[in-house]
Symmetry: C2
Subunit: 292 residues, 2 copies
């Protein structure tokens, strides 16, 4: 493997799990990320502001962002209304979430997994008619914080359905950091995604990515600075930190297109904008090439 594609998710998945920050700070973060060489950024989500106040200014953020010609920006949506807003705002890459476990799906989306799958069936033609693509993110793919282990066959069945419905891409979300190298092997031997999204809640983030690389996966989400906590464990780490992922990949001779030094500068900026110490080792200690 010579190249891996990173999607930067700090502006959406990261900030959604932090205390709200000003609109201008979000724009600064996205603009700085756009200059790191990363080619894909999950910029905002179009959700109800009462459900997720951190994303209430999604339209304004997106209008003010300096869109880099080499970067593909995407938006997450929870339902048809969100998809309409994303399309109206000009997004052509749209993501929708459904949890593999019904308890988590009910808590997150107030409906059963089957109801969400029906929604996605109806959503796909709407998105395609607008000239956009739809990625289905299967959340809690590696385990559910309410139900525990998730059967890989259940995930495989859901993937088969949404692929048959015309979903353009599939991602597996490790929503609360329950993935481990063993669970990655178990799930990927049952069904393959286009992209993997890991959290580092229990320290296995890079070990999971290493396992997935070994199995041929070449697309990963990551969040600069490790922005984004774990909603069920106060103080726990959230998303894998982009600079830790890039640091390991570059050391392996795998290209990401990202300038690591500039990325670390952006993590420093993110730490200032958010106002808390972020859980990224490469942010704290620098790359291994940085000598004393």
């Amino acid at each position: 493997m010579s190249a891996v594609s990173i999607r930067e998710v700090a502006p959406r998945d990261g900030l959604q799990n932090e205390e709200p920050i000003p609109t201008g700070s979000k724009v600064r973060l996205i603009d700085a990320l756009s200059e790191t060489g990363v080619r894909r950024i999950e910029a905002v989500s179009f959700v109800h502001p009462k459900a997720i106040p951190q994303m209430a200014d999604a339209d304004e953020v997106w209008q003010r962002v300096a869109r880099h010609p080499d970067v593909r920006y995407s938006a997450l949506i929870p339902n048809t209304r969100g998809a309409q807003r994303a399309i109206a705002a000009g997004f052509r890459e749209i993501e929708v979430v459904v949890s593999a476990s019904t308890t988590h799906n009910r808590r997150n989306l107030n409906r059963s997994t089957d109801e969400s799958l029906d929604d996605i069936t109806a959503l796909i033609p709407l998105v395609h008619d607008a000239g956009a693509t739809l990625e289905v993110i299967v959340a809690t793919s590696f385990g559910c914080p309410f139900e525990g282990d998730v059967d890989p066959d259940r995930v495989a069945t859901m993937v088969a359905r949404v692929r048959a419905d015309g979903a353009d891409r599939i991602a597996f979300g490790d929503t609360t950091g329950m993935a481990t190298p063993r669970r990655v092997r178990d799930l990927l031997s049952a069904v393959r995604p286009d992209l993997l999204h890991f959290h580092n809640t229990r320290g296995t983030g890079l070990a999971n990515i290493l396992t997935a690389l070994d199995l041929g996966v070449t697309e990963f989400d990551a969040s600069v600075g490790g922005i984004g906590g774990c909603p069920y464990a106060p103080g726990a780490s959230g998303n894998v930190a982009t600079e830790e992922v890039v640091h390991m990949l570059h050391d392996m001779g795998i290209d990401t297109g990202i300038d690591l030094d500039r990325l670390i500068e952006t993590a420093e900026l993110a730490e200032k904008l958010i106002g808390r110490t972020l859980p990224s080792g490469v942010l704290r200690a620098g790359p291994r090439s940085r000598l004393v």
Copy 2:
């Protein structure tokens, strides 16, 4: 692989890089660790109290520890004087450090690597005559914070010498967290250790262990709670956290003999004794089996 042997190093390598704590707290930590099922504990080091004040009470700590019959306790020593103290105190497993990079060895031991190797040559018969074993820990094996990359052939040459001199065991130390999966493969393809000691300074701790497992290594150091910072990066993580290692291994079906719940309780105790938030995800969030 069905079993892995963990050596718990929080009482020595961990505490050595923290603010000093009372003798009674050290004894409590070692005694609690002895009840977790771990079979090996690096208990103290016999170093000059001016060099490392955190270990000034090593003799008293060791006298007060409730020695568990199933646990092998070891002591680290820097020189002949330390070895004599360790032997007099009753230790039969002794570790000595030499850095692969001369700059680090000079900073750490005030002598060149070759001088330290000469010391070890003289030390081995002294230790053996006392009925004890000597493990040589090659520090900065995966990189030096002053010199950068370390040539695996250099480590291999050092290992060949100390093995020829009669060293009983070889460990490779990732002293400042410069190991990565790629560097683990590079070094282990040149020379094999008995045990590996990783830090999690740049997030690769578990990924490194996963790589080493794949190459057949079955002995690892770890520090409960991830105790022990990085001396060159304030606030950075130190040793891999024992509960994160055990959590991943047990999930893979690999036995360690350790009761994970009891280990996490000991990490909670360690956090209280040390008085700072420790950088362990499994301590914060619990094992993946702990549901909301």
